[in-house]
Symmetry: C2
Subunit: 206 residues, 2 copies
């Protein structure tokens, strides 16, 4: 699985890097999560400048795409030229959005009437965009998932590994990154948050 | 509070950025956490190149220092020239180490016989360096704290805010970054992990 972690200027480090680092625990299985940006360099909301690993057009060829969050998402959501460079296909890609990334997902027409998650700050703008925002850390509908609250990015990663590989692989990845002494707790919470949406998907296929 | 987040080539994104992002939630109070590195650019264990915000010598003037983790810590721990550029003073600085950062903390003479935390991979090398490693996510002795398991970096940040400002500020920072619907859970766990070491410190001062 080649995964685009969509990361824009003003990005929130937690939203891009927590998911990317957990997904990259699947490196031994050929997975790679790439910081994917419209420009060669992007600077975070806290002034950290990062060199992109893939250009925006990589979204069209990636097996999975996670839309990160940041303090400039409203400007990006109004930039039709930029949005037109993001090519997503939920029939063949796993797609996730984190916090204000849900606003971009809605602008790209991938949310519709379905309930979605976002953070508390972005919530009013996402509702304004017509989205039914729920008070939960994570939800998925088929191949499209949303998460709310920076550290909920662990659930997007867990879901993506469970869908693209197996729940066992997702548990192993979460086990590595969880705090010492709390590993069982972290693994069981992450799996219990995403499990209903994995089973739902299996039922739909069956 | 000006905080150095020590970040070396091969760094683990979770260990540097989770703590930095939570600490930067105190921006309105004049706090800033800076990615601090020996070279102008550092590249993570997953190939993400980041521009440093401060040089290594900033450790000497910072109010607090967090030593991040990564896949090249053993080489760094053997590099006396590089270690000599890291000037720490626990009598006036809050100092924390994350995962393999505990190995560097030990080499810098700041662990001694006291119990410390690290991740499961680094554990044998930290024990080899003479450290008493415990099976816990976080421990602090006075102004020096250690954490084990990438996501335990949230506890280093919680501790640092509670010590440098107040537990109330630490709760607010954790509340912002926690998953939606799990905010009370995350705040109460983080505060219960670090609280014994804040109270201990108050008792020592009293």
């Amino acid at each position: 699985m080649q995964i685009a972690i969509l990361t824009f200027d003003g990005f929130n480090e937690l939203d891009s890097f927590v998911a990317a680092a957990i997904l990259n625990r699947m490196k031994r299985r050929g997975w790679a999560a790439h910081i994917t940006s419209p420009t060669e360099h992007v600077t975070s909301m806290n002034g950290v400048t990062v060199q992109r690993q893939k250009p925006l057009e990589f979204t069209g060829e990636a097996d999975a795409v996670l839309i990160g969050s940041g303090i400039r998402t409203r400007e990006i959501a109004a930039d039709d030229d930029l949005l037109s460079r993001i090519v997503l296909d939920p029939s063949r890609q796993l797609i996730g959005a984190q916090c204000s990334g849900t606003l971009l997902l809605a602008k790209l027409g991938l949310v519709g009437d379905l309930p979605a998650c976002t953070d508390l700050t972005t919530k009013p703008w996402v509702i304004e965009a017509g989205v039914n925002v729920i008070d939960a850390p994570f939800i998925a509908h088929g191949n499209v998932a949303t998460a709310g609250g920076c550290l909920a990015s662990q659930y997007l990663a867990t879901w993506m590994i469970a869908r693209g590989a197996s729940m066992r692989d997702a548990e192993e990845a979460m086990h590595i990154v969880a705090p010492v002494g709390e590993k069982a707790l972290y693994v069981s919470r992450a799996t219990s948050v995403v499990a209903p949406f994995i089973e739902q998907e299996r039922a739909a296929v069956a």
